[in-house]
């Protein structure tokens, strides 16, 4: 991943629980669940964190956006465009890293 800082998000106050400060295994299972939700026919047991998003899982730009929106939904947050645009994601682990680094900003 090209960027190492925190990724800011806006909490959705209309939803009851805002997930933050996930540990590694929680982040991993959340990412695996999101992947199986957006990739038809993909089973969680077939996902490996070293797999490549494009070359192994065939994720294109549309499905990549779907994946991030899916993660937002599972975290009850809205990610900030500016932080995301410059990050390059290669492996599944990059997504797990993203989820771990999400910190909630108090204000938009």
């Amino acid at each position: 991943m090209a960027s190492g800082g925190a990724v800011m998000a806006i909490g959705d106050s209309s939803k009851a629980v805002i997930r933050s400060d996930l540990d590694g295994s929680q982040a991993k299972s959340l990412v695996f669940d999101a992947l199986t939700a957006v990739i038809p026919g993909l089973k969680a047991e077939a996902v490996d964190e070293r797999q490549e998003l494009y070359a192994d899982l065939g994720i294109d730009s549309l499905r990549f956006a779907q994946l991030l929106v899916e993660l937002e939904g599972r975290l009850n947050v809205e990610l900030v465009d500016e932080d995301l645009m410059t990050i390059e994601f290669v492996n599944v682990v990059d997504l797990i890293d993203l989820v771990e680094r999400i910190s909630l900003s108090a204000e938009k």
């Binding site: 998003l53 779907q66 991030l68 929106v69």
Partner: protein
């Protein structure tokens, strides 16, 4: 900074049809079903557009999506756009119809494209992008994006289909006036362009190649992103200010459209006017007929096939299910450059597939004749694309039986034709020959489309 008072008729939200019809979200093919991915090891994914725009394309939860204040202030400079009844045209045609037209051509750039250009550049600028790249057919989109980029402080690079650029070079001057770099496509700046030249030495260009060049240029330059002028759900969403205004304006006149007609490139002006009317019809428990008018030189709906296809010549964009003539089809260089895209966007394609819209193909001469008549009777010279909508509208209105209640028709005049005077002049002088489909190119292209679909073992349809 609100410089212009907002008219109460200016919508504060975009209308999201995906709320009413979530089945239209998208049908994309997984890249894992394509061979050759093993060569792509190490290929990273980066967001190509701000997630704010992607969320709009995927949103099925909200029927109305708020328009950001900054964008509303810019809309307020030219919206609401006029809605008028074409009384003199009705009289001239002697039809049993009330013909209303929405006029999107009165803003500085000359077309509806400004509605999405302002919205998209707002989100891209906020996301930290410094330069936009794009491909344009008629040039209306390139002009709108150039202007919006100037307003938002972004640089802009436009790849413009050569055949159209040569028809109206003065529009290029307008893009450059707004600070854009304008390149003829195919160009020698990108591999896609160089390959297209090899395959078609005449180099008249297609929107698929120009789009591919814009994508390639964006991928090769830092802080640069590609923006699209039509087809995507978010783009159609931004255009829904047109139809929402039209419904409110017709309400004031005690009318509601029985039929909505617009030309079809990839679907943004059509969707912009038709989708909100469809929503309003649902609310009022009535039905509305929607008619998309395409160019007979590029009949993607009436002669295309509903298949998975690439939307550009670079081939990196999502492979969606669309009505298509195949991405390698080279339509003859008709003057309606905005109608030369080989496929309709996924949303309008899904609507055509389920019977929600009708399609009609109009030849170039009929459209110019309709455009001239519209100019003579209504004092507005429509863009050649919009003239197709006028021709379709005349056809529909003329067929309405005299003994029935008058048909209320709403047609969208998506742009003005002031920079197309040379084309109108040539038509008036009898210099424009009828242009038909290039059957040889079409047959090759459809063959390639079928082959591509056969290679896909089991298409996975997802939402």
């Amino acid at each position: 900074m609100a410089g212009t008072a907002r008219d109460p008729l200016l919508p504060t939200h975009w209308f999201n049809i995906l709320h009413d019809r979530p089945q239209y979200v998208a049908t994309a093919l997984s890249r894992s079903q394509l061979a050759g991915l093993e060569d792509m090891a190490g290929h990273g994914l980066q967001l190509q557009q701000p997630l704010s725009l992607a969320r709009q394309s995927l949103n099925t939860a909200n029927r109305f999506i708020p328009i950001p204040d900054e964008v509303l202030d810019l809309y307020a400079q030219y919206r609401p756009t006029p809605l008028r009844r074409a009384v003199r045209l009705e009289e001239r045609l002697g039809v049993n119809a009330h013909i209303y037209y929405k006029y999107e051509g009165a803003n500085l750039v000359g077309s509806h494209k400004l509605n999405t250009a302002l919205a998209q550049t707002y989100y891209y600028a906020r996301a930290g992008v410094k330069r936009m790249a794009t491909g344009t057919g008629a040039g209306q989109w390139g002009t709108a994006l150039a202007y919006a980029c100037q307003i938002m402080g972004l640089e802009c690079t436009v790849f413009w289909v050569r055949s159209t650029l040569r028809q109206k070079p003065i529009r290029g001057d307008l893009m450059r006036l707004f600070g854009a770099d304008v390149h003829e496509s195919p160009s020698d700046l990108t591999e896609v362009g160089r390959r297209a030249f090899k395959e078609d030495p005449t180099g008249i260009g297609t929107l698929a190649v120009a789009t591919g060049e814009g994508l390639a240029f964006a991928a090769e330059h830092s802080e640069t992103r590609f923006a699209i002028g039509s087809g995507e759900n978010s783009v159609l969403l931004h255009q829904t200010v047109i139809g929402q205004e039209a419904v409110a304006q017709m309400d004031q006149l005690g009318e509601f459209p029985d039929c909505v007609i617009a030309c079809m490139g990839a679907g943004s002006n059509f969707g912009g006017v038709a989708l909100p009317v469809l929503g309003a019809a649902k609310d009022r428990g009535r039905s509305v007929r929607l008619v998309a008018v395409e160019s007979a030189a590029c009949p993607k709906l009436t002669r295309g096939r509903y298949r998975y296809d690439l939307s550009d010549a670079l081939g990196t964009t999502p492979i969606t299910k669309v009505y298509s003539l195949g991405s390698t089809y080279v339509p003859p260089p008709v003057y309606a450059g905005g109608l030369r895209h080989h496929s309709a966007g996924p949303l309008c394609s899904a609507m055509y597939a389920d019977g929600s819209l009708e399609a009609m193909a109009i030849d170039q001469q009929t459209s110019f004749r309709a455009g001239m008549l519209f100019c003579e009777t209504e004092g507005i010279l429509p863009a050649p694309e919009s003239a197709h909508a006028v021709a379709g509208m005349i056809d529909v209105a003329s067929r309405h039986p005299r003994q029935e209640a008058p048909l209320a028709v709403l047609v969208n005049i998506s742009g003005n034709g002031l920079l197309d005077l040379a084309a109108y002049h040539r038509f008036a002088a009898g210099e424009i020959e009828p242009v038909a489909v290039d059957e040889a190119s079409l047959s090759r292209s459809l063959g390639a489309l079928e082959e591509f679909n056969q290679r896909i073992a089991q298409p996975a349809e997802t939402t």
